[in-house]
Each structure stands twice: as structure tokens, then as C-alpha cells.
Amino acid sequence: MALTGVLRPGHVAIRVLEMEPALKHYRDVLGLIEMARDKENKRVFLKAWDEHDHHSVVLREADEAGMDYMGWKVDSPATLKKLAGDIEKSGLCSNFSWIKAGEHPETGERFRFTIPTGHVMEIFAEKKIVGNNCGTDGENLNPNPWPDGLHGIAPSRFDHCLLYGDDLDGTIKLFTKVLGFGIAEQVMTAADKTFMIGAFLSCSNKPHDVAFIRQPVKGKFHHASFELGSWEKVLRAADILSRTKTSIDIGPTRHGITRGETVYFFDPSGNRNEVFAGGYIYYPDKPAITWYDETLGPGIFYHDRQLNEAFLSVFT
């Protein structure tokens, strides 16, 4: 197995102000599949159609919007134990805890920690494989290319998050030196070419599995992103967003960074979502792409060539 260690973003837990409108958004407009409810803790678990694991999005009703935590699937229980030890030994993280198996439905134990930018992260090795409902003669047997019963935008997977925080250097060190991520793209200041403003990090062949931008805040959430197969599906997604009067931030347009085609929009609690298509294949030996702050405009929004007002100031 060539892809080892941390495999992918396994879940994102998002706080919502009211569950009913949140579910209308994430289930009916975005088109995720509801998998389980936890009435006691006011949580709902959902997945995108092409994900085989039990869930990838957790909604929790709370008084504050934002992200509770992001979880990473690792390749084995042995790797989970090893990385938990490495994270503790690194001296970069705090608030370590083991979350017992079953606290998320159909999920094994998770190791939880807080990273230098203030975000809570988890790693886990086991989550029930429920499949993508494409098989015709049994699960994963002679499958159709997509299942019946999709509705809304219907992205294939939860893909990545962009997060805002202050100690960018510490967080980048953790992800690259301890967790084995590579830097696909980075944004530096032109005045001091060693000072990083943002980094797009990959643990796979994707241009990013998580991205961070330096801001004088702790633990803030810019967006959670979901993958679509084509530019035309991004356009169709924007049609659905307009038809349902969903608050659109910007797009459809293209990012210079990662080359993705994108539309940004907000859930009913003001948490930003993205659906995107495209990008490129990342390999660990691919040279990192560098942008400078003076070209951050086309880096983020390639056609407008400038940031919109919301990009740096609107987050939860």
C-alpha cells in the first residue's frame, strides 16, 4: 500500500444554531445522506453518496456556530497508537484525550488533540464501511456509476476544510513533520519571503486535504468543502443554491490555488460551505507552488483577481 499513515479527512463536526433548517440545508439542498441521530447530544450524522464509511459530517445544535473538530482516518489501529504517541511527544499540541469507541456511531476509538492554531483534531482507524449503494449484484459487485435516489447538489465526498488561526508555523510543523503531510501550495509575504500566510496541505493525491490561513484568531472555521465531478455540476449546484435562496458568498468561479472550480455559500448558521470540481493530482515529490500576498487575489479568485470582502473577514 503506497498511501499510508493518515489517509483522508474522515469527518468534520459543525455547530449549527438550529437543527431543522441545518438539516434542510445539508440533507435537502447539499444532498448529503442522513445516517444517524443522537437525540441526547442533539447531533445528526450524514455522509456523501460515494463515501463508504458510515458518516463524514456531524451537525450539533449549539449556541455558537463554527467547527467542533475535524477527524482524520488513519490506516490501522497500530498507526493510530503510533501517531497518538508522536503527537503527544511533538510538544506542539495540547488537550489530549481518547474518545471511546461508539461515541460516534459505528466508529472506533478516536484520539483528540488541539493544534497550535487552536483547532481540535482527531485521528481514528475504524468506522463501519456501509458502502455507496452502487452495486447491482451485492455491495461492490458490478456497480452502477452512481446510485438511485440522489437529490440536491449531491457531492461525492467531504473533501477538505480551510481553517483560520494564529500559530500557522506550529500547525504546519505538526502536519508536515509529525503527520506526514506535504505542502502542495503556500502563500508567503513578498516583503519577507520566509513568512507564511497560508498553506494547502495534502496527505494524499489531492491538492489539499486541509488548508490554513494565518489570522489573529484561534480555532476558526472558513469552510468545509465537498467534491463534484465536473465544472457543469458546479454550475448546476449554483442553480440549486439560487433556486433555494441559499446565501451565496461568491461564484461559480475558479481558484488560482489548487485550480479548483468553485462556489462558496453559507449554511443557515453562517458556516461557509464549498462545492468544487477539478484541481490536479498531487504527489509527494511535486514541487510546492508559491504565491505572494500581492497575488493572493487571483490565487483565491482567479477571474475577479481580487479577494471579495468576505474572504478574510467572514468566518465562524
Binding site: E64, I197, E309
Partner: protein, 123 residues
């Protein structure tokens, strides 16, 4: 029933139905006085203090609007529905738009409505 909303800072005046939130009515009237962010009660960009009038409000992100602020008549315009004519004073969100590095500040192309000041209380 329609009411009149006055933005004290810009002098703009627009009409707002009781079923419509103040921010949406402002956008429809092509006024610009209140910063527009998520439009959904999360980001705090449209924070205003209502100085005159009655209104009802829906749930807002406690991380950007404290209980004390709310008690003083501060609200997010996107979650505020008029019950009479209103007069509002724009507070907006005051995250720093520049980040200090070694004493020297750099900014990255964002200086419009966000004022350079201390960030809101961390939550």
C-alpha cells in the same frame, strides 16, 4: 406591514416588511451602510445597535454577539425583523484586517469596512 429603517452612520433610509430581516431589506434597497457577510446569523459582519424602535429577533451566534451586547440592544441585522420604524447604529465586525509580523504590519488587500482594531473577545 412595512416600516422605515434608518442607518444612522450613512444616513440611508429604506423600507422593511415585518416578515423580512433588516439586512435583506437593505440589500434589496441597494443600500450599503451595513456590512454583509454570511446573512445567516453566524459571522457578525452586520452587527448593529438598535437605538430606536421595536423588533423581534431569531437565534444568533453567541460567539459574535454576547448576552451583554444583546441586552444593550445589539443584534445582527440579518436576524432582526422590525415591529416599528427602526434606527440603527452600525457596529460591524472588528477583526483586525492586518497581522503584525516582527513589529511590521502587512495587509493583504482587505481594508474596506473592517476597521483596524482589537479583535472581538475570544470565545
Amino acid at each position: 406591514m412595512h416600516f422605515q429603517v434608518t442607518i444612522e452612520n450613512s444616513g440611508e433610509i429604506f423600507r422593511c416588511g415585518e416578515e423580512m430581516n433588516v439586512l435583506e431589506a437593505m440589500e434589496k434597497a441597494r443600500c450599503k451602510g451595513i456590512p454583509v457577510g454570511c446573512r445567516n446569523g453566524g459571522c457578525g459582519a452586520c452587527k448593529v445597535r438598535v437605538t430606536e424602535g421595536h423588533y423581534v429577533k431569531r437565534k444568533m451566534n453567541r460567539a459574535v454577539l454576547s448576552a451583554e451586547e444583546e441586552a444593550r440592544g445589539c443584534v445582527l441585522a440579518c436576524k432582526t425583523y422590525p415591529q416599528s420604524d427602526l434606527s440603527v447604529n452600525v457596529l460591524g465586525r472588528t477583526w483586525r484586517a492586518v497581522t503584525a509580523h516582527g513589529g511590521a504590519a502587512f495587509s493583504f488587500a482587505f481594508t474596506t469596512t473592517a476597521q483596524v482594531s482589537q479583535p472581538d473577545k475570544e470565545t
